[in-house]
């Protein structure tokens, strides 16, 4: 009883603070994580992350700081425009997650490109 009274309040305070921190931090900072087809069917305001495959039409310019390409999945595709340093792995055929906004012009303006580390844990078997 003694312990509960002595420690109950500080514990509640800490829990409340942590809860508040989590709530307030995630409210503004979370984004939708979509596939290309999902984004095209549900126009979303705000920044989103879109996962897809890089198509063959990669065009680099501006010393490698600007690139346009098409990101696609099984059913849909969309043009992407990105300014910034390209991740090393970036090339046609890889999975990429583009973070940014879909513009009114139908082009996705990406502020960040995330590529995946080459597989260490994938179980893609050797096909003979």
């Amino acid at each position: 009883m003694n312990v509960l009274m002595r420690w109950g309040i500080p514990t509640l305070v800490v829990v409340a603070c942590v809860g508040y921190l989590i709530y307030s931090a995630s409210g503004g900072a979370s984004e939708y994580y979509l596939t290309v087809s999902e984004l095209q069917s549900h126009a979303t305001a705000g920044d989103v992350r879109v996962a897809g495959i890089v198509a063959d039409d990669v065009q680099k310019s501006d010393g490698g700081f600007h690139v346009t390409f098409t990101e696609k999945d099984n059913t849909a595709s969309m043009p992407v425009d990105y300014t910034g340093t390209l991740p090393d792995i970036f090339r046609p055929g890889i999975t990429v997650v583009a973070e940014g906004k879909l513009g009114a012009d139908g082009v996705f303006h990406a502020t960040t490109l995330l590529t995946k580390c080459p597989s260490r844990f994938s179980t893609t078997p050797y096909t003979q």
Partner: protein, 651 residues
């Protein structure tokens, strides 16, 4: 081919021995049959030997380029350098599971050998839990993810290792982190055994703490190595991305940090046993959870995880561990009657409880960010969070922990008095001086001011501890030396605290004050970032056996930085960054070559990262402190006579 059969056979034998050990150990512990306890333990040793044999066989298969093994074919080729071939052992799914089992078996065996002082029943239950965990891994290795699967036709060459992974960091970072993960099973097993046997005395505390410290040290090293590797190799200018893979390595470390401190309260006053058991168990559950997340592909991560067959197995194992732990804790913790009453909140014990609460809070923050995609995906649209979430939510918690580090060690175990306030003047003064200096220097960012002031305070407190030692030995060096050696656990711990403060300062500086510029320069052109000027002097191409290198030269003061890009023929023109870094204790100048252009200009990304070296230095100091503090501690805690630990409840 033979290796395939021998290896599979060894794993199968290991599984049988492990299962036998688990069943027999639990039974003999329950019945108190000493002879059978020893048999059960030997079965665990034998199972470990089988895993070692399998490991040796896999390594031989790798080094002899035995492409009849699917695993060898998938992860190496004839042109891969030998060191990287050898590291292929833990580089893939199946091999890393085998490595995990290997560490578990070896550390587990060591812990059982050292457990003689604990009594046969406790040792038996611990062996039972260890054997159960090992058997789970062996089940997965035998049935689902065998490193010894054979190909029906042996190819002439393998698939090789992706160039991004061809780096020295690959040799060191993964095995340390994997070993860290596996090692959390040891304290868990002893905690579970103590709950089963109803024993929580001094010998058990010392034994469990020792292995928790091993796990914590391995994980600390793994985390810092991972940060170092990400910073030096990946070329994005940072060292931590809050990716799920990183988060799951961090969480058990946070729980064990809490445990290592909180267990002192149990040692000194016999209190907080429920906390301690819960923290040790939580650390292991987080490891299993992390392994599930990382290998199942259920949350998006920059580390590729194909949705693999072993996901459901680990989910099932996680569920079993949670149920087992929950039942044990709820049944037994009611027997933890704290003989002593709780200390006031503002006391050493109070500080430890606050620390527990804050670290669990930090775990909750990281956990929420990690599973948000999973939870939100199940309830509707999938959402993710990025670094800003973690920073906003976790930074205040870490700041509060720094404040605890500054005040806690100076608080008495029981009542506060005037001498406490006097002692607190040192960290208080350090914080004040730091604030004044920073404000005078023009710093206005609140996070920076808070972080450095608290870091200075925490450092001052740790130094005060050493200062008291010097004062107490009255200027006699040999007395001081003897004191430091006899009480090395204490002084080593405060050295580790200093290391953590240095590391925290490094993170604060490099994070809050980083500057970055993207620029395209013609030869002769210059760029200035944060007062550092670099001049592009030209680039050249170099042809090496398996790749071509594009090297740019940037003159920086008296030296030349050479960021480059390496293009590997077989990879469709993809080129890899080799970062050029100029390091001083004050800041790193970090240059990435984005590419060259037809008109002769080159594009760069230049970062100035202040205080990054403090991160690596801090990490080294932490490890030094832990090692020095615990070297040669043979006997279960040299017991000061005054300690009164409540009589253990008979099992």
């Amino acid at each position: 081919m033979i290796i395939g059969y021998l290896g599979a056979g060894a794993l199968l034998a290991g599984l049988v021995m492990g299962g036998f050990s688990a069943v027999l150990s639990f039974w003999s512990g329950w019945r108190g049959n000493v002879v059978m306890v020893q048999v059960g333990r030997r079965a665990f040793y034998a199972a470990t030997a089988m895993v070692v044999l399998a490991g040796v066989l896999l390594e031989v298969g790798l080094l002899t380029h035995d492409f009849s093994l699917a695993y060898v074919t998938e992860h190496t080729d004839l042109s891969t350098p030998t060191a990287l071939v050898a590291s292929g052992f833990y580089g893939g799914q199946e091999g890393s599971l085998l490595y995990w089992a290997l560490i578990l078996g070896l550390l587990g065996s060591g812990s059982l050998v050292a457990s003689a002082a604990l009594g046969e029943r406790l040792a038996a239950y611990a062996a039972g839990v260890l054997a159960s965990i090992l058997s789970f891994f062996l089940i997965v290795l035998v049935l689902v993810a065998s490193p010894f699967d054979l190909l029906s036709i042996t190819p002439p060459d393998g698939l090789g290792l992706n160039p991004v992974l061809r780096d020295g960091g690959m040799l060191i970072h993964p095995p340390v982190v994997l070993a860290g993960f596996a090692s959390f099973a040891i304290p868990f097993s002893f905690a579970a055994a103590a709950l089963l046997a109803g024993r929580t005395d001094a010998a058990w505390i010392a034994h469990t703490r020792r292995f928790a410290l091993v796990a914590w040290s391995l994980q600390s090293a793994g985390l810092v190595l991972g940060m170092w590797w990400a910073y030096h190799v990946l070329g994005w200018g940072g060292y931590w991305g809050w990716d799920p893979v990183e988060n799951v390595a961090l969480m058990p470390w946070l729980a064990t940090t809490a445990y290592l401190h909180s267990s002192q309260v149990q040692e000194k006053r016999g209190r907080l046993r429920t906390w301690n058991f819960s923290l040790v168990i939580l650390a292991f559950l987080l490891v299993v959870f992390g392994t599930f997340i990382v290998r199942s592909g259920v949350v998006p991560s920059v580390h590729t995880f194909a949705v693999s067959a072993i996901g459901p197995w680990f989910l099932g194992f996680l569920f079993a561990c949670i149920v087992f732990s929950a039942v044990l804790l709820s049944l037994r913790s009611s027997s933890f009657v704290d003989a002593r009453e709780a200390a006031p909140i503002v006391s050493r014990e109070g500080a430890f409880v606050m620390q527990n609460l804050l670290l669990v809070g930090a775990i909750a923050v990281v956990m929420w960010g990690t599973i948000l995609p999973l939870v939100s995906g199940m309830l509707g649209a999938e959402r993710v969070v990025a670094a800003p979430y973690y920073e906003r939510a976790a930074a205040p918690i870490f700041a509060a922990l720094l404040a605890l580090m500054a005040a806690g060690p100076l608080l008495p175990w029981r009542r506060m008095g005037p001498s406490t306030l006097r002692a607190l003047r040192w960290p208080g003064a350090a914080a004040l001086v730091t604030l004044v200096v920073m404000l005078a220097g023009g710093a206005r960012s609140v996070p920076a001011l808070v972080a450095f002031a608290l870091a200075a305070a925490a450092a001052a407190t740790s130094i005060t501890v050493y200062g008291r030692a010097v004062a107490a030995s009255g200027g006699d060096w040999s007395r001081l030396a003897r004191r430091l050696v006899t009480k090395r656990r204490r002084y080593g711990a405060y050295l580790a605290h200093i290391g953590l403060v240095v590391l925290a300062a490094g993170i604060a500086g490099s994070h809050l004050w980083q500057q970055e510029k993207e620029v395209t320069l013609a030869p002769g052109g210059s760029v200035t970032v944060a007062g550092y000027t670099l001049t592009y002097t030209g680039s050249r191409e170099r042809q090496l056996p398996d790749h071509t290198e594009l090297v740019a030269a940037m003159r920086f003061g008296d030296s030349t930085l050479e960021p480059s890009r390496a293009t590997y023929a077989g990879l469709g023109g993809q080129s890899l960054t080799r970062v050029a870094i100029s390091t001083t204790p004050v800041a790193d100048v970090y240059v990435v070559l984005a590419g060259t252009n037809p008109d002769g200009s080159a594009s760069f990304q230049v970062f100035v990262n202040p205080l990054v070296t403090w991160i690596w230095a801090g990490g080294a100091i932490i490890i030094l402190g832990v090692v020095l503090g615990n070297v040669g501690e043979r006997r279960a805690a040299a017991a000061p006579a005054r300690r009164r630990v409540p009589v253990p409840v008979p099992g």
